[in-house]
Amino acid sequence: MYFQKKQSSLFTEPLVYTVSQVNHYLKSLMLKDRLLQDVRVMGEVSNFKLHKPSGHMYFTLKDGEGVLRCVFFRSKNQVLQFTPEEGMKVVARGNISLYERSGYCQLYVEEMEQEGMGALFVAFEQLKEKLRQEGIFAPEKKKALPRFPRRVGLITSPSGAAIRDFITTVQRRFPCLRILIYPVAVQGKEAPLQIINALKQLDAAGDLDVIVVARGGGSLEELWSFNDEALARTIYEIDTPVVSAVGHETDFTIADFAADCRASTPTAAAELVVPEKKELLKLIDTAESRLRGALKGSLKTRKLVLYRLTSSTAMIYPREKINQGYQRVDELWQRMARLMEYKLKLKQAAIKNLTSNLEAMSPLKVMSRGFSFVIDESRRLVGSAGKLEKGQLVKVVFRDGNADCLVQAVRKRKPADILDFNDGE
């Protein structure tokens, strides 16, 4: 009885799906739908939970009638400019998909901002463009930072993190300069004006090498005073170079664009503005050692040149030079000797020749043929009978001796009658 009319059981129907198949299919439908991808959703934040270790944010967006679950992973929410709170009106951009495990659809948030922020962004971009057109940000107008500042101006809040970071960094790197702090409000309505006055006053003082305008991190609203137009113009107009160090690495304010140099954080500003003392000392040391090296180098090359000269054979072996000299002398000597010999021979030959001639003409030769000759008292040869006088004493020389003779008579004769001794005139 109890058994009812046999129904066709759902199980037996041909197509029966599992839960995960259904969810999987729903998810694929959503992913295919262009409208649900990269969509912007406006709503009020509620049930906001920041999951501690992972850093992921889980919350729902709601408006009067409905609720949309959202997840904002850490990798994406890190750059969030603000911390979401209950009831906060926001606009979230992301992709809608199904969270299969729990079966509900969810907005995977990529980016989120507070509602009404849009207006601020627009104002920011417009001011930036306007000032850019005027050339307030012109790179060529940017003044160079001094390499070794003596006096640094610092415009910041006296109680913020910025002042501490900046000063401690300067003390660490280069504790040999003077810092002049000009305390100002760094947020709120009066901040821009205070900063402007500070800039003008410090610039007027004229003895600062560089002025740093610094502020720690903060929300868009908190940093808003640094997007002030008049502030940007003042930064541009004053003579002292200005370094802006406002907010976090990713925050860019109009002041940053107008400044001569932008540092991402106050600490970075200190590192930018102030050299490291030990680096400078190292710089000086290296310069000195390069000087020494250069001098040593040039002396060395000169010594080398000198060494090469002194070690040339001529210097090392003067003896050898001298020997060469000796040899040279010998050679010359021999040549001379030969010449002399030759000359001598010539001379000897000449002399022999002469002597033979002489001998040929020599009276002795004549005498050897029996002739003799007559010389007077002063041993002068009497060559002519005419020189003789009667009674004159003369000497006659024979080949084998000589004799004293008295001239008894002198007779002049022609060669033919030379032997005619008759006195008959």
Binding site: L180, I284, R290
Partner: protein, 79 residues
């Protein structure tokens, strides 16, 4: 080289710049011995001057008040 300021009147930047030029000269150019000795001496003097300036410069922390008056600022000195 002696035309310019005497070394002890030079600012840190001037002295360091001059030193860099001298080193460049000593290393690059073929200098007569006397000149390289002169440059060397001058370079050493410049280096000494730079070190002196660094050691003498004192660290001072002041605050400017609205009326332009300057007072010492010790808030962080005790840290």
């Amino acid at each position: 080289m002696s035309g310019e300021k005497a070394i002890n009147e030079m600012t840190f930047e001037e002295a360091l710049k001059k030193l860099e030029i001298l080193v460049e000269k000593m290393e690059k150019e073929e200098l007569p011995l006397e000149e390289s000795l002169k440059y060397f001496e001058e370079g050493m003097e410049l280096a000494g001057h730079c070190r002196k300036l660094l050691s003498e410069a004192e660290y001072k922390l002041e605050m400017m008040l609205k009326n332009g008056e300057k007072v010492d600022f010790e808030q962080f000195d005790d840290q």
